[in-house]
Amino acid sequence: MIAVGTRVRARNIDRDGHTRLPRYVRGHTGEVVAVLGEWALPDDSVRGETRLEPCYAVRFPAAELWGSGDHTVTVDLWESYLERA
C-alpha cells in the first residue's frame, strides 16, 4: 500500500490490450492524494482474470504533464501502473 503524500511516477508501459493508464500521464511524476480502495485491475479483467489491487488518486501539476499551465490533473491509477519516484 502506498501512503497519501508519496511521490509516484506513472510507469511508461504500453501493454497490449485494454488498460486504464492514460497515455498522457505515462512517465510523469505526481503525488498520491487518496487511497480509493482495492479494485480489480481492468487490464486483467478484460481477459476474465480478477486481480484486486489498490487504486490511488494521483495529482499531477499541469507543468509536469504539458510543460505549462497552472492547474492540476488528478487521475485514478492502479498500483501496478505506478513506481516510486
Binding site: R20, L21, P22, Y24, A34, L36, G37, W39, C55, A57, R59, A62, L65, W66, G69, D70, H71, T72, V73, T74, V75, D76, L77, W78
Partner: protein, 191 residues
Amino acid sequence: MSEHDDEPVAVRVRRLEERLIEAGLASDAELDGFLSQLYRDAAPVNGARMVARAWTDPEYRALLLADGNAAGAELGFDRMSYQLRVVANSPAEHNVIVCTLCSCYPVSLLGPSPSWYKSFPYRSRTVREPRSVLAEFGVTLGDDVSVSVWDSTSEARYMVLPARPAGTGGLAEDELAARVTLNGLIGTAIV
C-alpha cells in the same frame, strides 16, 4: 478492437444482449426493466438535492466530502454502483470533472451525460487547457483561483459541490436545489 468496429453501436449492443439471454444470464424483460428504472430515476435533481442539503447542513457537507456513498444513502440514493467522490469548490479552488478514456460520471445522480461531455474535444482539452474550456462555458476564473481537474479513470465517480450563491440565505432547501444545474455538478458552470 475487432472487425465489429464499423457496425452501428446499437447492433453491437443487441448482439451482446442476445449472448447474455442465450447464456441464461438475463432476459429481455430484465434488461428492459433495468434500463427503464435507470433512466426514470437518474437525473441531476438527485445530485442537486445532495448539494442543497450540504449548503444548509454543515454535518451533511462534512459527510458528503468524506463519504459520498453514505451521504447519498441518507437521501435515499443507496444503489450507487460506484464509489462517489465529491470535490468542493471554494473561493480559492474550482473543480471540473472529465473522463479522458470514455465518458464516466455518476449517472444515477447527474442523469445521462450531455453529448459534449462525451466529445473528443472536451475530453482532450479539459486536462490540457481547462481555463480555456471553462471560459467557453462562460466560467471565467481569476488568477487567484486554482483549477483542479479530475479524470475519472477508475471505479470512482466524481461530482462537484458548487459554492452556494450569494444572496440565497433565505431560501429553503428545495428552492436551493432548484438553483443547481447539471453543468454546476460537472464544474462547467458556476451556480
